[in-house]
Point group: C2
Chain length 286, copies 2
């Protein structure tokens, strides 16, 4: 049988894994639960959760005392959490630990007297949550999305603190921090960008070199999965991008001894397992 | 008589002014003094100081008890100051207050547990002084001169503090801070770049718009003075760059009512005064 190496960073990031596992757990335990918005943009996962009676909440007003609601990875402003507590609902907090870190750092910056610049997307649920924590701690600050935005909104402050949305693009972060540093006297930066994407790509680069063939799993329309497949193919031309186990072809594996597997950020573990199982079948005689 | 507007930021920066005034004062008071290196690269000033018996020190070993030594704007490491105290020399500390601020900020960063990156020129007297304060406070750090240097020396640290040499170029500062921010978890930056040059340029831009004619004073080979003249000329074509009063020509001032004057960073006040006096003579009948 061929040797199959599955990338440790394949599939869901840490935060999404926690949220999906919590949603499944809530469905099984309570027989019914709501999530405050879509947990993940993956059809199979959404269908699976619906079977467990875990559904996306349309409005907080539909909640009744005793209902279970799961706060997804993005987190919420403290006042939303209080509102849920007042309604007497059962809260499952699946806020990503890295997002919680941003909330904590914003509070620290405010305590230390910094005006806060949040590098992120205005209106994004994660950013709304971060702004909620800024407001709650009595701080002042702004959100900036791009350089033009930053220059236009630039505050007349000498002491500025920075945090970033966890999925922020590093290039803009670098440029913004540099610009801010040269226009204030004191700057404190917490680099709260999560490195799940770059870690996943780096691991694929290493893996693609070591194996005879690479399988990348994930939606054909998923940007991060396609990118992963491109990176792999550039290093190892024997790279195939599949959405599910049924797409694998036995002939790909003929004479191959070492097979590498990775998956995009929205690919659940069970799909990865099905693919690995199929590869084992195809290579059991080799 | 024409109206003559002299830019407030004309000539010596704050730090150099203090050092030159202190050197003149020391020469007059003690009849003899040393400076730990050249105070300024201006022939007239150096000649004037030599007349007052204020000379550049060739080596600390030539100092004898009771000698007067002036520490110039750049500052020195604490151990050099202690060595001078032990020799029993009379110390006049003309370290630029903005450079002292850098020393203070380095100590603060070390106390707060940061590894320090000094953005500046390795071996520059100011940087040697800053490094001395870093060492004295028990801190660790490096000096980086350019991006290549930064990438090569990049420390494996999560908590990094930054200060800059006061005359650091802003472009590299911005790029370096951005790069560092995206490669560490926590970053504290004190923007210690002195804005004397940009303030001088901004004032010339305003002044050139308001007057009929601009006179820029300073060495023909002085980079910052030439730049000042270029900026002025772009706004007001009636701009003349002179080194001293004797170069002024009466015809330039015919029919001119408002005259602006500024000067490069190494132009002493007395030369500016001589130029203003000459302009007054030329325009007294107009």
């Amino acid at each position: 049988m061929a040797e199959i190496k599955v990338a440790q960073s394949a599939g869901f990031c840490f935060g999404v894994k926690i949220a999906v596992d919590s949603a499944i757990g809530a469905g099984k335990k309570y027989g019914k639960a709501y999530t405050n918005g879509p947990i993940i943009h993956n059809k199979q996962v959404v269908q699976f959760l619906e079977k467990l009676n875990v559904k996306e909440l349309q409005s907080y007003s539909q909640l009744q005392e005793g209902d279970t609601v799961l706060i997804r990875s993005h987190g919420v402003p403290p006042k939303t959490e209080r509102m849920l507590q007042e309604k007497g609902v059962n809260i499952i907090d699946a806020t990503c630990p890295f997002v919680k870190k941003v909330h904590e750092k914003v509070r620290q910056l405010v305590e230390e007297g910094y005006y806060v610049i949040i590098i992120g997307e205005e209106g994004h649920p994660e950013v709304i949550g971060i702004l909620g924590h800024l407001e709650e701690s009595g701080g002042k600050g702004i959100v900036v999305e791009n350089m033009e935005d930053l220059i236009k909104k630039f505050p007349k402050r000498n002491k500025v603190g920075i945090v970033a949305q966890t999925t922020q693009n590093e290039e803009f972060f670098e440029e913004a921090v540099g610009y801010i540093a040269s226009n204030v006297e004191e700057l404190k930066v917490f680099n709260t960008i999560c490195d799940a994407t770059s870690v996943r790509q780096e691991e694929v680069k290493r893996l693609a070199k070591e194996v005879d063939l690479m399988i990348i799993i994930g939606g054909k329309h998923s940007g991060n999965t396609r990118r992963l497949a491109q990176i792999s193919k550039a290093i190892n031309p024997e790279t195939y991008h599949v959405e599910k186990a049924e797409e694998l072809e036995k002939k790909w594996f003929e004479g191959k001894e070492r097979i590498g597997v990775s998956a995009g950020a929205s690919t659940p573990d069970w799909i990865i397992k099905e693919v690995v199982q199929k590869i084992k079948e195809f290579t059991k005689d080799s």
